[in-house]
């Protein structure tokens, strides 16, 4: 290989690498705020740890979790989380027996009222836990929801 060809080749390789790197980084940037790692974890405690960086949870009657006792259809389980706690930063919903326990997270602002409601899927009967972060501490409320027909897979 003569020098000119070598230079040309290395330049092209460099260009290709840069393009590929650019392509690979792009999707990450788009969803920078979406915590993919936390949503991918399949074990409850590890999931909690990845969200908060620790597992210090306090069960609190100040957190109200409204969920059905029995969900006839696991594809639609209505949930509502409410709290009177002040300075709520976020509300997270974990479902212990789902393939990925973290189902959803809600980051609130200073203007928000700490109430959120949604509908989730549940594969089978499981404990549902709502975790509220207030003044840096995590307060939780749990409830068992019995599922007759699962909403995942099929």
């Amino acid at each position: 290989m003569n020098r000119r060809n070598f230079l040309k080749n290395s330049l092209m390789t460099a260009a290709t690498i840069t393009t590929f790197a650019g392509l690979m980084i792009k999707p990450k940037r788009l969803y920078a705020a979406w915590p993919k790692a936390s949503f991918d974890i399949t074990e409850l405690n590890a999931s909690i740890n990845s969200v908060y960086g620790h597992n210090n949870l306090d069960e609190s009657s100040e957190v109200k979790l409204k969920a059905p006792d029995i969900a006839e259809n696991g594809a639609i389980v209505p949930l509502n989380v409410k709290t009177k706690l002040k300075n709520v930063e976020s509300i997270m919903i974990f479902v212990e027996n789902n393939p990925q326990p973290l189902s959803s997270g809600y980051n609130l602002s200073s203007k928000s009222v700490p109430t959120v409601g949604t509908r989730i899927k549940m594969g089978k009967t499981s404990t549902v836990m709502a975790a509220v972060k207030s003044d840096g501490k995590i307060y939780t409320a749990s409830k068992e929801v019995k599922v007759t027909i699962g909403g995942c897979g099929g």
């Binding site: 788009l30 969803y31 705020a33 979406w34 915590p35 949503f39 594809a75 639609i76 389980v77 209505p78 509502n80 479902v95 789902n98 393939p99 990925q100 973290l102 189902s103 959803s104 997270g105 809600y106 980051n107 609130l108 602002s109 203007k111 928000s112 009222v113 109430t115 959120v116 409601g117 949604t118 509908r119 989730i120 899927k121 549940m122 909403g151 995942c152 897979g153 099929g154």
Partner: protein, 102 residues
């Protein structure tokens, strides 16, 4: 037509926003019964709620949120505020809708 249905109502200084978004919310775990192939994951990852241009809630959803997801949240606001809801899914689709608080 927008994929979002949005209703915002004020009562005692608190605006309650209720929304339904039309979306399949595929988990990526279901299989096509005929072909046996996995249906690729297709779900909304993020929903951002704004009031008069200011962000009041950022919602991160995983695939475990139901099809045609429903969301309700509240913020301290007034009648006539402009509420905007915007979503983006894992395939880069997005939509948004503005509505006036009643």
């Amino acid at each position: 037509m927008s994929t979002i249905k949005l209703r915002a109502k004020e009562s005692k200084g608190v605006v309650t926003v209720k929304a339904i978004i039309k979306h399949p919310m595929e988990t990526g775990q279901r299989k096509n019964k005929k072909t046996g192939e996995k249906i690729p994951a297709h779900f909304i990852q993020q929903v951002i709620g704004k009031a008069n241009g200011e962000e009041v809630i950022t919602v991160n959803w995983g695939p475990a949120v139901s099809k045609n997801p429903y969301l309700t949240f509240g913020y301290i606001g007034a009648k006539g505020d402009t509420v905007e809801l915007a979503w983006e899914d894992n395939q880069g689709n997005k939509d948004s809708l503005k509505s006036e608080v009643k």
